[in-house]
Structure formats: C-alpha cells, structure tokens
Amino acid sequence: MCLAIPGRIVSLVPDEPHLGVVEVTGVRRRVDLGLLIEDMPKIGDWVLIHVGFAMSKISEQDAAEQMQLLTMLGEGEAAMDEVRGYGLEETAELRSVRGSPGTKKDRPLYQ
C-alpha cells in the first residue's frame, strides 16, 4: 500500500482546526490534518495525502538532497575511481557529499 500523493496546504478551515485545504496541480481538496497534530503544517507546507488524511510533512531539504544525489550518480563514482587510482583513502564525508573535481558537465541546480 499505497496511493499517497504530495499536495501543498493552501488554506486552513476556520472553524475546524484539524482540517486544511491542499492543492495538487490545480485541484483543491479538504484533508484531515489530525495525524500531524504533533507538528501541525502551515500554509505553504507540502504534505503527503492518503485517503483524505495528511500522513507526513514533506521535507523540501531532504527532497533537494535526494535530487542532488541522483544527479551525481555515476559522476561521483567515476571521480572516486580516479581518486582510488591514486591510492587515496575514501572518507565517509567524501562519500556523502561528492564534488567531482574532474567533471566539466553542468549539474542542474535545485533550489
């Protein structure tokens, strides 16, 4: 399971503190925010919606980091191979944030 999609909170329902309106590419839907009561989302936050309930807040930072990792797939490895070839040790830090000194390709920036 199952079908859950990201939506952005565009408004909160005035008399109902646990309800909000989310927007998913131009479609607006009321969702129940009751499961996020310990860290209520604000207007503008993105949440994951499943059967009319918000399950989790979407972390923009984690998403951006993930996109960064994906963009560097392959390039990072090539750079690491080069580095290993020189007999240099790979540290944990190097592994998690890969700059590619040898690469000339333009990497798309994510905000």
Partner: protein
C-alpha cells in the same frame, strides 16, 4: 451497469447480442456511424443516448452533449450531419424550467453546428426514474467526399493524432456530482468537432485512415477497439499525451487513469505517415485545434494491444475499460 460504461462489457453486448441478431451478416467493423445507401445516394446515420448526472455542469449540459455527441459520431465517420431527431424521457416532476434550459442549450448547439432538429418525441416516466431526463438523438448526414475511414486500411507506420487535452469532461462530471471534497477549475470539453474534421479532410483527406471520438471509456478504449479491428499495435508516447494539470491532479488524487476518462469534444485520427505533418498543421491552424498533436504510431507489435512508452524506455500495456473507471487508493 458495466455494460453501459463503454468498455469491454459494452462491446460484448453489442458484438455478442445486438449485432448478430439485428445487423444480419454484416462483417464490417463496428463504427461510430453507419453508412447506408438509399436509391444509390450514400448517407450516414447514427444514434446516441445521453444519461448524465448532474444535468448541468461547468462547460455544458445534457442538451449540448446530445447535439454535439451525435454530430461528432457522424463527423468521425467522415460525414457532415444534416438533420437530427430527438426523444426525451422525462421524470415526472421535472421542473419545466429545467427542461426549457436544456431545450435552449440544444437550440444553441444546433445553431453552432448548422444542423436542424426536424422531429422528436417525449415520454414521461414516474418519479424516481430517468435521473431527471434522458435524451436520445439520432442524426443523418452526407459522407464528406474527401474522407473514407476504415480500420482495415490502417498500416504499420501510420501516426496517431489527438485533437486536444483529454479527461476534461469525465473529471468535470465527477467533481460536479459533489460527492467528493474536490474542487478544480475544469470545464467539460463538449463541442462539435466537425470543423476540425473538415479541415483535416480538406488538407490531408487521402491520408486519413480512421477516426473516433473517445467518449465513454476514453482514449484507451477507442484505441483498443482500433487495435483489435486492425490486428496491429498502437504505441503511444506518454509524454506526448496532452493532459491539463488539474485533470492530472484529480486523477492522481482519485487513483484514476486519464486514458480511461470520457471526452466529449476530442477525436483521434490515424494518418498515413506522409500526410501526418500536413494533417497536424491543418488542425493546429483551425480554431479549436491548436492543441492537437501526434501522440504515437501504429506498429505490428504488440498486436491487438495498446502500449504506452516513456522517454526513458519503460512501457506498459493499456487495456480497454472493464467496467466503470474504478478509483483506487491502494
């Protein structure tokens, strides 16, 4: 209920019961309109029933659907509608203002299409039946000289054209029912597509192999019917299929596939490759056809099926609707 949804069950009903008993030994593939000859003069005829809840919705109403739907069935069969007759089945207690509104809507639609309503009938049934009203229209027209459509003329290499974005009508209706807590800025796409078909035919007539209007059951159902009728494979490119953001969003929220959603103002055309660009140009340069695009092509494999591929090389088979489009949450 599944038998009316436009997909496999409907087709079985028509092919398994109606056609053999009513149409004699005709081996012609089933089309949107029938070709008949009366004293040597070719005519095209069709009929369609309109059942929709609610009766009025953003972008149109049942009356408009009734006129446009029959005009479109004739148009995609390569004919220009000339005259129509209409029958109303009305629910007892239907306010006369509602009926009048629909008749006015039909009158405008008729005027826009240049077609005359030459007769009709009305029946009233007891309260609780007919969802307010059911409308059936039957239309007759002359085949356009520059168009001859037949699924059997489709060949590998032919291109598949779509007149515009899909899913608008079906999703609009779903939202208009008010059962869902969903709101979107969407309207039904109901319109008469004859001007577009005429433009297509005039510029690229000899290259037009087949046309259909993807109403109930959506693009997937129409193209699956084609695939079975011609024994070839229809291969679409996912990224080329035009879908409005709001339709996409609603489909995602409800777990529906836009390819199965009804349209009331679009049509599909299969065009010989050497005419494809001319055909597309003709549509793009006709008012209402700006969003027309090529969404795929015909191939030998997978035979009798519709395949949708993505840019990165993944693909999936898309089948006809089995019953009503079922939303899924899982």
């Amino acid at each position: 209920m599944a038998h009316g949804a436009g997909g496999k069950a409907s087709r079985r009903l028509v092919e398994g019961l109606f056609a053999p008993l009513l149409c004699g030994n005709s081996r012609e593939p089933l089309g949107d309109a029938a070709r008949v000859e009366i004293d040597g003069i070719p005519m095209a005829m069709t009929a369609d029933s309109f059942v929709v809840k609610p009766l009025r919705f953003p972008g149109g109403s049942i009356g408009e659907l009734a006129v446009n739907g029959t005009m479109n069935d004739l148009a995609v069969a390569g004919a220009r509608g000339h005259s129509m007759v209409v029958t109303f089945v009305l629910e007892e207690g239907l306010p006369s203002s509602v009926l009048e509104a629909e008749v006015r809507a039909m009158s405008s639609a008729l005027r826009r299409s240049g077609v005359a309503m030459v007769g009709g009938d009305t029946k009233v049934v007891e309260r609780g039946k007919a969802d307010g009203m059911y409308i059936t229209t039957a239309g007759i027209g002359r085949p356009l000289p520059y168009l001859r459509v037949d699924a059997r003329s489709v060949r590998p290499g032919d291109k598949v054209l779509l007149s515009g974005p899909i899913g608008d009508h079906g999703i609009t209706i779903l939202l208009a029912r008010g059962d869902l807590d969903l709101e979107a800025d969407l309207r039904s796409d109901t319109r008469c597509v004859l001007p577009l078909v005429e433009a297509l035919g005039q510029e690229a007539g000899p290259g037009v192999r087949w046309m259909r209007d993807p109403t109930r059951g959506g693009v997937a159902t129409s193209l699956n019917e084609l695939a079975r009728d011609c024994g070839l494979g229809i291969c679409l490119l996912e990224e080329e299929i035009p879908i409005r953001d709001a339709v996409r969003g609603a489909c995602e929220l409800l777990g529906l596939d836009p390819l199965h959603i009804a349209n009331e103002g679009q049509f599909l055309a299969v065009i010989a490759p050497e005419y494809a660009d001319i055909a597309l140009n003709a549509l793009n340069n006709t008012p209402g056809g700006e969003a027309a695009c090529i969404i795929g092509e015909v191939r030998k494999e997978p035979a009798n099926a519709v395949l949708v591929s993505t840019q990165y090389g993944g693909s999936r088979i898309v089948d006809m609707l089995a019953g009503d489009p079922l939303p899924r949450i899982c």
